[in-house]
Symmetry: C2
Subunit: 401 residues, 2 copies
């Protein structure tokens, strides 16, 4: 039988809250294919392959698999390793030694690059082998995809965070800055807009890596909003850059009175938010200025899951196995939007996905570059799932003095 | 009829995600008392009283009140004003002018102080008047209470954040530091422990303001955990202090190689987390060290609510009205734990509550001062509500190399 032998699955890069849905979807789907003898899970992504560290997932109980599917973060553990040619050779040699006939890698666009190299070794040696990429990234920056598994849930977290932060800021007015993950693509930061409802709801300003960040314009924007509403809620991507393409975290340090230093490490530090707050304090003389950096909670917070994202992540794992073992194809599963709202799953070649980044299209960003458009709202809303994200206010009349 | 006239309700201090339950509980309960003509909501706490800014909540629809009850942050808006004697006199004069016969203030321990002063003016003038404090604080630091409304939900947020962060850290190992709100009391930071389940689950170290923070011990602790598990998850209260009682944020700056400066502003800045991470990097030469400061999400995140907390916050508002209007008492509603788990509501005098802070009792903190005890776990678990906070792992056997 074609591809008769074992299968390996691994998880790479930054985890999401639904990455285990894809894992379990693929593992359980694989059980339906008689050519698969054993399903091995590599521990710590490709690093686990070269170190020959595998779990025999064929011996995992279905009910425990289902429980694990609902957990955030990579159940098999992940890695930041980006294999070069030599590393890929080592991977391939181990896979061959374990009679592995299909390899599924759940990851961002780096992982499809590695898969592509590994597949070429198989072709050169005429080794019967399928290499399949299963997409995931909260950044939503994979080409050939309407969106990626993991994004919807992270977007829901960001939307809920700003819904609460906006109400909190309305209770105790001031300037509030929330720093959101996203080094190159602004999709996650843009999701901060999803809970806006009333005309004065924040975030009032949204700054994305797709547009040049100019400190003077920022200060003018904040001043204008603050004068209008007596408060200002701001969503900022950690990846905002100046006109020369330098991260703002390095540029802002010259603009504030403190002499703080820091490495240009974007996540896992509150430095950018603190600097953006300090600029407002120093220049606009607004007293109550606060910043939060949402950090790892965006991709790992237990229990904040979009049901649409969860279901799609699951199906993407299942589809990957069907494409590879049922249709005998290599490649990367893609999500295509159809109707309002439904999706179809397709397949792209590994070359089409590898190493490329999708950015926010122009029609999602307003003219001034400080907010999103209604088109983005239409795009993101179904991805947040069926839970209706709404806020409510008192409507009672004022008492005459 | 005694107390015939109007009623005022207001919200003060930092909001919570269930503070509007107390508001709505009190407002709807008040409708049952014929001596209450109008229920006024003061906008921005006591500031709204002196400025005569009231909403006529008698004209609010019950169904909208119920929707607002579920929203985070103060629906009436809040204030940081801490009224002195003169300010209290102004409040009292406005209340009298509006024929207000009962005043309910939802707030922390500062608010009961103001209520006490206002009540004394009423007594001096023989003005028929009830002053009632409705407790709320995510810090859980009110005396005479087993716990306070708002704490359970914030604790659930912190627990869920650390459950996810622990799994994320297990996926991509390193040192992770989560900075939690709590200037003087460590209850919220301690809640980081609530989701621990497996022997190697983090947070592995918990630092509270109730114990002196020593940088050398901290480094030894981190080194030991990191050597044991290859990773380390740490929960730190923003209020940790050195042996002289100085906030660590000022002390740590001398210990790190960067020359960062910052105001001693604990919330709304990532500085403490960044400094604690830098100390580890500099001294232990661990490469992957990340810090998150949970910030305002802890008290405002939309949708993360403990049902137990929600129900209690509601009842506390209802009880306040019953005590004041039914039983003709001033004071502060208290929550007393009975059984495993149930509560009774009691009543304390305003003097008993005002200006006092409850700290973590010694039996909740381990000998080394770097973790909580099982007694704390027993204390906190029912407050997190009926949603079972659990994580699951793969249990499949390793494949022989």
């Amino acid at each position: 039988m074609k591809h008769e032998g074992n299968m390996v699955i691994a998880q790479g890069g930054g985890p999401t809250v639904v990455i285990n849905q894809s894992l379990v979807g693929a593992v359980r789907q694989a059980m339906d294919y008689p050519q698969v003898n054993r399903v091995y899970g590599a521990i710590r992504g490709v690093a686990g392959i070269v170190n020959e560290e595998f779990l025999d997932l064929t011996q995992e109980s279905p009910s425990n698999l289902e429980k694990v599917a609902d957990m955030p973060a990579a159940a098999l553990s992940s890695t930041r390793d980006k294999p070069d040619e030599k590393y890929c050779r080592e991977i391939f040699d181990v896979l061959k030694a374990y009679n592995v006939r299909s390899f599924f890698y759940i990851g961002g666009n780096d992982s499809s690059d590695a898969l592509h190299i590994i597949k070429n070794f198989a072709l050169q040696e005429n080794y019967d082998f399928r290499a399949v990429h299963i997409p995931k990234t909260i950044d939503n920056d994979l080409v050939k995809n309407d969106h990626t598994p993991g994004y919807g849930s992270a977007a829901k977290f960001v939307a809920q965070a700003f819904m609460g932060a906006n109400l909190d800021n309305r209770s105790l007015p001031g300037v509030y800055i929330g720093v959101v993950m996203g080094r190159h693509a602004g999709f996650l930061t843009a999701a901060s807009s999803a809970g806006r409802q009333y005309p004065d709801d924040g975030p009032h300003l949204i700054y994305l890596p797709e547009r040049v960040f100019d400190t003077d314009s920022y200060l003018e924007d904040v001043k204008r909003v603050y004068e209008k509403f007596g408060r200002c809620v701001i969503a900022v991507s950690e990846g905002i850059q100046d006109s020369a393409g330098n991260p703002m975290i390095t540029q802002l340090q010259d603009k504030v009175e403190t002499d703080a230093h820091g490495n240009v490490q974007l996540s896992g530090t509150g430095a950018l938010g603190d600097l953006l707050a300090q600029v407002v304090k120093d220049n606009l003389k607004i007293k109550r200025v606060r910043s939060d950096t949402f950090g790892y909670l965006q991709r790992s917070f237990w229990g904040c899951v979009s049901d649409v994202d969860r279901e799609e992540a699951r199906e993407v794992g299942e589809k990957a196995v069907q494409f590879a073992l049922g249709n005998d194809e290599d490649g990367s599963v893609t999500i295509n939007r159809t109707g309002e709202y439904s999706v179809d799953y397709g397949y792209a070649t590994l070359e089409e996905i590898a190493g490329k980044t999708k950015y926010m299209p122009d029609e999602f960003i307003n003219q001034e570059g400080n907010d999103v458009t209604p088109a983005f709202r239409e795009y993101v809303t179904p991805l947040l799932g069926s839970e209706w994200l709404r806020t409510h206010r008192l409507k009672a009349p004022h008492v005459k003095k």
